[in-house]
C-alpha cells in the first residue's frame, strides 16, 4: 500500500513543487492537492480540489480519500503577500481546521508535516548566534507573521500531545533563495541597488529552494517526527550576499529605519516588512545539525543558495521568463485523469 497524501496550498509556490516531486515517488499512491486557486504547474496525477480551509470539507476529504499523510505547505511566511487579517485566517484558522480534521475520531491520518519558518525565533540583539530547535525567542514577537506562526506551532504542539499515535513533523525553514522563488529578499537583490542599514552588516542564513523540497520529501519518505531547523551551512554577512549577487548597497539610517523603509515601499520599488528590517539589523542563525543527524544531506550552503539565485537572475534578466506559462484548465485535466479514452499507467500496470 502506498502513501495517500493530502497537500495544502497546491497553488502556492511550495505546494506545486512538492506535488511535482511527490508524483515522482512510486511509494506515493494518491496525492490530493487543496487550494482556493488553480494550480500553476502542470501536474500529472495530483488530484486538485478547489476548497477553502473550512473544517467540514477537510474532514470529508481526509475520510473519503483515506489520507494517511498531510503535508501542510500553505503557511504564509511572506507578510508582503497579504494583509494581516487574511494571513491570520490562512495560517492560524487554516491550520486549526486542518488539525481538527486530522484529529477527528477514526481519522486515518498517521503523519503530519508542517512547513514553518525560522521567523518564529525572531531577530534581536539578545539572540544567540545559533538557535537550536528547543530554544525559544529572546523577545516577544512584534510582527504579525511571527505571531501567527507561533500560534500555529502552539496548535501543533497541542495536537501532538493529544494524538500520540500521529507522527508530527515541524520544519522551520530559514529564508529561501533559489532559481524561481520570489521573496522580499530576492526582490531586494534584484534591484539595481540593495537596501542595508547603516553600520550593520548582519550574518544571514539561507536555504536553497531545491533543498526545501528535498527536505520535505525526506521527512515524509523516512517518516521522521520532531522539530527541525532547515538552513544551509554557514552564515554570510549581508555585504557578501550583495557582493555575490553583484549588487551595490545603499544604506538606510539606523534610527527611524521603519520610516525610511516606507519610502521605497510607497514608490513601489521594494516592500521591506518589519521582520526583514530586524533581519537586516541583527541577522539570524539556526543550528541545522539535528536534521543532518537524521540523515538529510544539504546540496547547497548559505552562499550556494545566494549563488543559485544569482545565476538564475542573470539568465532571467537576459532572456526573460525561461519557463513556459501554464494555465490550469479543468476540462483538460479531468479528461487526462478520468476519461476512459485515455490509456493510463495504472491501467497498464494492473
Amino acid at each position: 500500500m502506498g502513501r495517500r497524501v493530502l497537500l495544502t496550498g497546491l497553488a502556492t509556490f511550495w505546494g506545486g513543487r512538492v506535488a511535482l516531486a511527490l508524483e515522482d515517488d512510486p511509494q506515493v499512491e494518491v496525492i490530493v492537492g487543496l487550494d482556493t486557486k488553480d494550480p500553476n504547474l502542470e501536474l500529472k496525477r495530483t488530484e486538485y480540489v478547489r476548497a477553502d480551509q473550512s473544517y467540514s470539507i477537510l474532514a470529508r476529504i481526509v475520510q473519503a480519500a483515506q489520507i494517511d499523510t498531510i503535508l501542510h505547505t500553505a503557511l504564509v511566511v511572506d507578510s508582503t503577500r497579504m494583509s494581516g487579517r487574511s494571513m491570520h485566517e490562512a495560517n492560524v484558522i487554516g491550520t486549526m481546521n486542518l488539525l481538527a480534521a486530522a484529529g477527528a475520531a477514526d481519522s486515518p491520518v498517521r503523519h503530519i508535516v508542517v512547513k514553518s519558518s525560522t521567523l518564529v525565533y525572531g531577530s534581536g540583539y539578545q539572540d544567540p548566534y545559533w538557535f537550536r530547535e528547543e530554544m525559544s525567542r529572546t523577545s516577544a514577537p512584534s510582527t504579525r507573521v511571527e505571531r501567527s506562526l507561533l500560534e500555529v506551532e502552539d496548535y501543533l504542539r497541542d495536537f501532538a500531545e493529544d494524538n500520540p499515535h500521529v507522527r508530527v513533523t515541524l520544519l522551520r525553514y530559514a529564508n529561501v533563495l533559489g532559481t524561481d522563488i520570489v521573496t522580499p529578499i530576492s526582490r531586494a537583490l534584484s534591484m539595481p541597488v540593495t537596501p542595508s542599514i547603516l553600520g550593520f552588516d548582519p550574518l544571514l542564513q539561507f536555504v536553497e529552494e531545491d533543498d526545501v523540497v528535498r527536505s520535505l520529501l525526506y521527512v515524509v519518505r523516512n517518516e521522521i517526527p520532531g522539530i527541525y531547523n532547515v538552513a544551509g551551512d554557514g552564515r554570510v554577512p549581508w555585504s557578501e550576499v550583495c557582493a555575490i549577487a553583484g549588487r551595490r548597497r545603499v544604506a538606510m539610517p539606523p534610527l527611524l529605519t521603519n520610516l525610511a523603509a516606507a519610502l521605497p515601499g510607497r514608490l513601489g520599488l521594494v516592500d521591506l516588512p518589519p521582520e526583514l528590517l530586524n533581519l537586516l539589523r541583527y541577522g539570524r542563525g539556526v543550528d541545522n545539525r539535528r536534521l543532518k543527524r537524521a540523515g538529510f544531506e544539504y546540496r547547497y550552503t548559505t552562499a550556494g543558495a545566494v549563488e543559485s539565485f544569482t545565476h538564475a537572475h542573470r539568465l532571467r534578466s537576459t532572456v526573460g521568463q525561461v519557463r513556459p506559462e501554464y494555465k490550469y484548465q479543468q476540462d483538460v485535466e479531468a479528461f487526462f485523469r478520468h476519461s476512459p479514452a485515455v490509456r493510463r499507467d495504472t491501467e497498464r500496470l494492473s
Binding site: G2, R17, L20, A21, E23, D24, D25, P26, L41, E42, Y125, Q126, D127, P128, Y129, W130, R132, M135, T179, D180, I197, L198, G199, F200, D201, L203, D210, V213, R214, D233, G234, R235, V236, P237, S239, E240, A243, I244, P254, Y282, G285, E297, Y298, R299, Y300, T301, A303, G304, V306, E307, R323, P324, Y326, D345, R348, L349
Partner: protein, 296 residues
C-alpha cells in the same frame, strides 16, 4: 519543456511491470561547493580585519601600556578554557591588552564575550564582532568552549567594573550571578583567572551622570580624568600610559560532570565567590609590590 524538479529517471514508470519492480530513483547528486567570497566566519570574525587590528594595536600594547605578564604559561595551548579577569577604565582598556597579549604570546585566538548591547550600536557593533567579540549568551559560550574547544574571555563584573569611580579602584564588584562558573561546568573546561593592574589608572572616572545614562540607555555616562586633561574628544580615545601588569592564577577545575541540565546554584555561587576572593587578594598583593602607577 519539463517542469522544474521533475527528475528524468521517472519515465521508467511507464515501461510496464508491477510498481515494486521499478528501478530505484538514481542516487541524489552530492553537495555542491561553497562559493564564499569574504573571510567573515560563523562568529562574525574576519581574519584580515583582525590582522589589521593587531598591527595597529601592537605599538599601544608594547610601548604605551608596556604590558608585562606573569605566568602566561598557565593558559593552555590547546583545549577550551574560560579566562576571567577584573574589569576597569571608562572605556575598558584591559580587554584588548588581555586578548592581544594571549594571541601574540600564545598564538591562539581568544573569543571575548561582552554585553550584547554592543550589537545594537551601529558601526561599533559590527567592528567589534569582526575583530573577535561575541555576545555573552550561554549558548554562544557553550558552543565555543565545549564544541570548538576555544579560549574564551569574560569579565564577570560586567559593566559594573568599568563603571566604578576613581576612589573605588581595584575593589572588585559582584561577579554577576555566577553564570561564568555554570558555563565552565557545563562545558567541562577550567577557569583561569587573571589579575590586571593598570587599567584603572588608564581612564579613571571622576563623575557619572545618572540622568544622561537614563536618557541614552547606556550603563553609565562618565566624565573621565582624560576628558578634563585632553578635552571631550581626545579624552574619549586617549588613555593615560599606565603600566600594565597581568598575573595569571592557577586554573580552577570543577569535579562535576559536563552537559548537565542545571547545576546547584549554591555550588555555583560558592565557586564564583571563591574566585572573586582569590582575584581580589592577588590584586592587593600586586598593589603592595607596585612602586609607581606609570612605571610599575
Amino acid at each position: 519543456m519539463a517542469p522544474p524538479n521533475r527528475r528524468p529517471e521517472t519515465v521508467t514508470r511507464a515501461q510496464g511491470g508491477a510498481l515494486v519492480h521499478l528501478p530505484r530513483p538514481a542516487p541524489e547528486p552530492g553537495p555542491l561547493p561553497d562559493p564564499r567570497r569574504g573571510d567573515v566566519d560563523e562568529w562574525g570574525r574576519s581574519e584580515s580585519m583582525r590582522r589589521l587590528a593587531r598591527q595597529l594595536y601592537d605599538p599601544m600594547y608594547r610601548y604605551w601600556f608596556r604590558a608585562e605578564w606573569d605566568g602566561i604559561d598557565k593558559i593552555p595551548r590547546e583545549g577550551g578554557a574560560l579566562i576571567v579577569a577584573n574589569h576597569a577604565a571608562a572605556i575598558p582598556s584591559d580587554a584588548p591588552v588581555i586578548h592581544h597579549g594571549i594571541e601574540t604570546e600564545l598564538g591562539r585566538p581568544v573569543y571575548g564575550l561582552a554585553d550584547y548591547l554592543f550589537r545594537s550600536i551601529p558601526v561599533v557593533g559590527t567592528l567589534w564582532s569582526r575583530v573577535g567579540g561575541v555576545p555573552a549568551h550561554p549558548e554562544n559560550a557553550y558552543r565555543l568552549l565545549r564544541e570548538q574547544q576555544q579560549l574564551v574571555a569574560v569579565f564577570p563584573e560586567g559593566s559594573k567594573g568599568p563603571g566604578k569611580v576613581y576612589n573605588e579602584r581595584y575593589q572588585l564588584r559582584r561577579f554577576g550571578r555566577g553564570g561564568f562558573v555554570e558555563i565552565a561546568m557545563r562545558a567541562g573546561v577550567p577557569i583561569i583567572p587573571i589579575a590586571v593592574l593598570g587599567a584603572e589608572e588608564s581612564m579613571p572616572i571622576v563623575y557619572k551622570s545618572a540622568a544622561l545614562a537614563r536618557l541614552t540607555g547606556l550603563p553609565y555616562v562618565p566624565i573621565t580624568a582624560n576628558h578634563l586633561l585632553f578635552g571631550p574628544l581626545l579624552g574619549t580615545i586617549l588613555y593615560f600610559p599606565a603600566k600594565f601588569r597581568l598575573k595569571v592564577l592557577d586554573p580552577i577545575t570543577f569535579d562535576v560532570a559536563p552537559d548537565q541540565e542545571r547545576y546547584a546554584k549554591s555550588r555555583i555561587m560558592e565557586e564564583a565567590e571563591a574566585i572573586r576572593v582569590k582575584l581580589q587578594a592577588t590584586i592587593y598583593e600586586m598593589l603592595q609590590q607596585r612602586r609607581s602607577v606609570w612605571f610599575g
